[in-house]
Every structure is written in C-alpha cells, then in structure tokens.
C-alpha cells in the first residue's frame, strides 16, 4: 500500500524529505551517485567567483536535471549581501529557490537571525522561494513566516559539527508553533539523528557534511534516505504513549473521598 505523503514547497511536490548538499566532497564526480542513492529531489549549491586560472568544472554538470536546485547565500554577512547573491543565483536560470545563510561568525558559523529576516522580507516579495537558515528561535521563525518564507531551516547543531540534535527541544517548539515546514539543517551527523528529527515532526532534513565525510558517502546517503523515511513513517503512524506509573508521594486527591458536600 502506498501512502501519498509529500512535502509541498514553492508549488513543488517533494516525495523525498532528504535534502542533500554538494559541499566538501572529495570529488564532484561523486555527486550523481550520491543523488541516486539518496533519492533526494533538492540539492544545495553555493555561488562563488570563477577562478580563471584553474578551470574546475561547473558543479551543475554533475547534478541530475530533475533535481531542484537550492543555491545558498553562503559568504553573505549582511542582508544586503544575501539579497545580492540571491539575485545573482536566480540569474543563472536554474529556478528561484534560495537558501538564505547570513553568517558573520566564523568560529561557529551561527546565523544572524535579524539580517536573515530582513533579506527574507525583500526576497519573498520579489518572488523567491525562500528557505532561511536560522538558530531555532521561535520569534525569528514567526517573523520569517510572516515575511513569506516557504519554510524555516533551524540548525540541529553548528554546521559541520555532526553533533546531532543539540537544539532538539527548541526545534520541537518550532514544529509545534510554526505553520510552515520545518527543515532541520546542519549538525545532523548520523542517520539516527535524522530519523529522530523526522519522528519529532520535522518536515525534512538537509544533510551535507555527514554524507560527504563518511567513509562510503554513497552508502551513507542511502542510509540517510532510509532513516528519513523511517522517521517520517513513525511520525505518521503516531506512536502510542509510554505509560509511566506516577509515583504518588502523598495523595493529592484524598480530600475528595471525605464525603462530597455537593
């Protein structure tokens, strides 16, 4: 029996809830295999100056044409820079999705929520499908929702740290309170962590470092795909509650037994 569960973003139906990246690979030639074993439909890229000396091939060449490109604004430290990069990315002609990443912290690579909101307001109005990367801050997420973001992407842990869902509780709050999709991005180090994020109710996970840095990236991509599917199914199935027997230190309702005056 096939359940039609999909994630809709920017008018596109996504049947895979695993987004992948293209960064940090030993070789871009791995990308087509990663794309296949991950089953992903969304893939991130960055925008950089061409190096006229060394002619590395355009990463786009390695990305299956059916995938949705999600350029990021990495390098931007302010909303103005992010907006500029977004517009340049759009001019490439590969779609109008943009992942807003505004980071002026080189130690932890934590995003600037304020600048992110400013960029989102403008880019959403220009018709971009905006996916902002943020700390799991409820107030920021609400502002992004109001500004027209297509989703929010809270970090599980700092980029590249592979530490898992350190911000789990805060992500849970976003899932409860925010109406647009919550896509956990950054920090996921193991498939089990991605599974847990999906079980909690996240709409999707973006994984880059954990796949690129694995011994066998292609196999790891497949593992993540399985994990995301498992977590999503578990969430949809609705886990039964674990019954904990309350330890009654002293009864709080004993007074009710002394005859009901009413």
């Amino acid at each position: 029996m096939k359940y039609e569960d999909y994630l809709e973003i920017g008018g596109t139906k996504l049947f895979s809830r695993l987004f992948i990246g293209t960064g940090k690979y030993a070789s871009d030639a791995l990308i087509p295999q990663i794309a296949e074993s991950s089953g992903s439909q969304v893939i991130t890229v960055a925008l950089r100056r061409v190096d006229f000396e060394s002619h590395t091939e355009n990463v786009i060449k390695h990305i299956p044409k059916t995938m949705q490109l999600l350029p990021n604004t990495s390098g931007a430290r302010t909303s103005d820079e992010a907006i500029r990069i977004a517009r340049l990315a759009k001019a490439m002609g590969c779609g109008n999705w943009i992942k807003i990443e505004v980071i002026s912290d080189n130690k932890y690579l934590l995003p600037d929520g304020y600048e992110t909101v400013k960029a989102t307001e403008i880019l959403a109005r220009e018709g971009f499908v905006v996916l902002p990367y943020i700390n799991p801050d409820l107030m920021v997420a609400k502002q992004l929702q109001n500004a027209g973001a297509a989703a929010v992407m809270p970090l599980g842990a700092p980029i590249g740290s592979n530490r898992g869902l350190k911000t789990g509780e805060m992500i849970r709050i976003l899932i409860d309170e925010i109406d647009i999709p919550i896509i956990v991005d950054a920090g996921i180090g193991k498939p089990s962590q991605a599974c847990r994020a999906m079980e909690m109710g996240a709409s999707a996970c973006l994984v880059n470092t954990a796949i690129a840095g694995a011994n066998d990236p292609v196999r790891m991509a497949g593992a993540f795909a399985d994990a995301v599917r498992a977590g999503r199914s578990a969430f949809l199935a609705g886990p039964g509650a674990s019954r904990k027997t309350a330890s009654a230190s002293s009864p709080l309702t004993g007074f009710l037994d002394f005859g009901d005056p009413r």
Partner: protein, 375 residues
C-alpha cells in the same frame, strides 16, 4: 478569523456519544503525553479519566511547580455598580430582580479602595452590571484613575466592549480583562439571556480577543459551570484559552472555573459539578495548557480552596464581597452571589503560608505614568 469559527467546528459535535466511547487506555495515553492536543483534553474530561484523577493531580502538581512555583497571587473584587439592563436568568443582578441598586460615587470608590488597600493587596478586579448609562466608559475611566493611586494592577470584569473602548480603559490604567462566556452552548445561551444587550453571543465570545488586540496584559476566560454539561463547557473553555494563547503569545491567558452558587432569583442549575468534577477540570486544564493561569474565587469554600491549591491554582481572590461598596458599608445593595470562603486577606495569607505557598500581593507595576493622557 475568530474563536467563533473554532466553536462552530464543534458546535454540533456528539459529545455524549464520543465521551462514552473513550476507553481507559486512551485516557491513560492522554495522561502520559507531553503535549496534549484538543482530543486529549476532551479525553481527560471524560468519565473514563476519573479513575486516573490522582495521576492527573500528581502531574498537574508537578507542572504547576515547574511553571509557577509555590506562588499564589491574591486579589479582591470591587463591585462598582449593580445596575443592569440584562435579564440573565441565573444572575442576582438580573434587571427583574427587586434588589437595592447602587453605583459608587468617586468618593465612595476612593473610600472602598483605601479600605482594600489597607490589606496590602495591589491587584484589584472591578466589576459592574451592564448599564452603560449608569456605568459607562467615562465613569469607569474616572474610577480607574482613582484606583491607580492605590493599586498597581487593575482588572475589569464588565460587559463586553469594542476594541477601541478596551483601548481607552487600557490607556487609563487597566491591564487585565476577565470575561466569562457563561455557556459556550450557543442555543442554550440564547435561552439564558432572553433580553438585553448580553444576548449577543458572538459579540461576547469575541471580547477576550478584542481585549488582546487592544493590548491587555492578561485575559481570563471561563464558563459558569452548571449551566450546561461541564465536560463540554470545560472543553470549549480550554479551546478558547488555547486559541488566545496561540494567537496572542504576548498575553497571559488564564482560566476561571466558577461554579454556580445560590443567588437572589433562585435559579437552579441543570447540571451539578461535584468537587471531584472540578478537580478533574482543573487538572485537565493544567495538563492541556501548562502555562495558563487558573483562578479560583470565593465561590468555593475555604476547605475546598485550601485542598485544591497544589493542583494548579495560580490566582485567588480574598476578602471578597460581591455587593457594591461591600468593603466599606453595611447597606451596600444586594450581592451578585453568595460568598463561600469569607476569609479576609490576612487570614488567607496565613493559611497559604501554612500550606507551603507564598501569597503574593503585587506582580508588577506599570513603568510609564499611565492615565495622564486625556482620552
């Protein structure tokens, strides 16, 4: 969007059937969840949840300790006027009841305020019947101006106002709004309010939201338990509170659980709400909305109020009297309903302390000098 839309979604819900079909294991599952949904609230209000009352109480107690600690805020109601143009069949102030009608003059308001302030209370709740000619916005603004000099938090429990009218009172110094829907059952509501402006169900149900929009710092909702089946009333109250909390996260939302009490006119409520039932309602609320306040008034007896303290109460009235000018004068006009817990503020504070709670008289104080703008 209005809460009324949410109400409509459940208006014709077959509560009796649904509650009947709930199983004990469903109740147990709802009890052990970390985040409760609407259906879970209803499940916990069902008869099948009753065997788990002690478990519910333990969990409610833990949640309250975590969210609010052992602190209970005290306040007292001050009735400014019992003139009323409504014909609410269950209320002592019904225009058809032959009772002494009174409205406090500003002098009397001052005297009453001074008397109450002697007790150390800083939070006051002012009430009126619905008679705009006798106790309209300007009169209320005048009273609030006086009360501001005695109290740091002024709440109103009056007839529903438009948003800008709430805005005017807020500018004068009001910060909290209490308004009960009485019954969320729309059809029953009409029969209970045969005549008078209160007959407008929709206007009333939207009032808490208008208060939030106008800038009230806290808003208190509730249903008069006993008018209709308490299980559905408690459910709607919970939904209403959750709607407001979700839409206006900056406002402190709280719930009251007023049970029908004897009053002039002798209205007999159709449904009984036993102590056990009230405990079930209170603990279910606490589990459903860990951050909502729960207010218990002096409709309840001293013994009962003391017993339910650990179960989620955050605010209590003390030294109450429900007659106009009742704090200062003996001939004070008839009371709205009979008080049960007659303890004064000092007595309440001592009782609370002995039970392990800290009575708090003052929660906060506005920084800007409000009420100086001429509105």
């Amino acid at each position: 969007m209005s809460f009324y839309q949410s109400y409509l979604g459940y208006r014709d819900f077959p509560f009796a059937q649904y509650l009947d079909a709930i199983t004990e294991s469903q109740a147990a599952a709802a009890l052990s969840k970390e985040r409760l949904k609407e259906q879970d609230l209803l499940t916990l209000l069902s008869p099948q949840a009753e065997p788990f009352l002690e478990d519910m109480a333990q969990k409610a107690h833990r949640l309250t300790m975590n969210q609010f600690g052992s602190v209970i805020f005290l306040f007292t109601p001050m009735y400014l006027s019992n003139f009323c143009t409504n014909h609410c069949v269950y209320c002592g102030f019904n225009v058809r009841n032959k009772i002494g009608r009174r409205r406090l003059s500003f002098d009397e308001v001052e005297k009453e305020a001074a008397k109450i302030a002697e007790t150390g209370l800083k939070h006051i709740l002012i009430l009126t019947g619905e008679a705009k000619k006798k106790a309209g916005i300007e009169y209320l603004q005048g009273c609030v101006k006086i009360l501001k000099t005695y109290f740091t938090s002024i709440a109103i429990e009056i007839y529903p106002l438009e948003t800008d009218e709430y805005g005017k009172l807020i500018a004068s110094g009001v910060d909290s709004l209490t308004i009960f829907q009485e019954t969320y059952n729309e059809r029953l509501y009409e029969t209970l309010h045969p005549k008078g402006p209160k007959r407008d169900y929709r206007f009333r149900i939207d009032a808490p939201e208008r208060g939030c929009m106008a800038g009230m710092r806290s808003v208190n909702v509730g249903a008069l338990l006993g008018l209709d089946n308490w299980r559905s009333e408690a459910f709607f109250t919970g939904l209403h509170a959750e709607y407001l909390q979700r839409k206006y996260p900056e406002v402190e939302i709280s719930i009251s659980l007023p049970r029908m009490r004897p009053q002039v006119g002798g209205f007999q409520p159709k449904f009984t709400v036993s102590d056990r039932n009230l405990v079930q309602i209170m603990t279910a609320f606490r589990l459903f909305l860990p951050r909502a306040g729960i207010t218990v008034s002096t409709r309840e007896s001293a013994v009962f109020r003391d017993s339910i303290l650990p179960l989620g109460v955050t605010k209590m009235s003390a030294g109450s009297c429900t007659s106009v000018g009742g704090h200062t004068s003996k001939e004070s006009g008839s009371s709205q309903f009979e008080i049960s817990d007659e303890r004064g503020v000092g007595e309440m504070a001592t009782a609370l302390a002995s039970l392990g709670f800290q009575p708090v008289y003052k929660d906060w104080q506005p920084m800007e000098a409000r009420g100086d703008e001429s509105v």
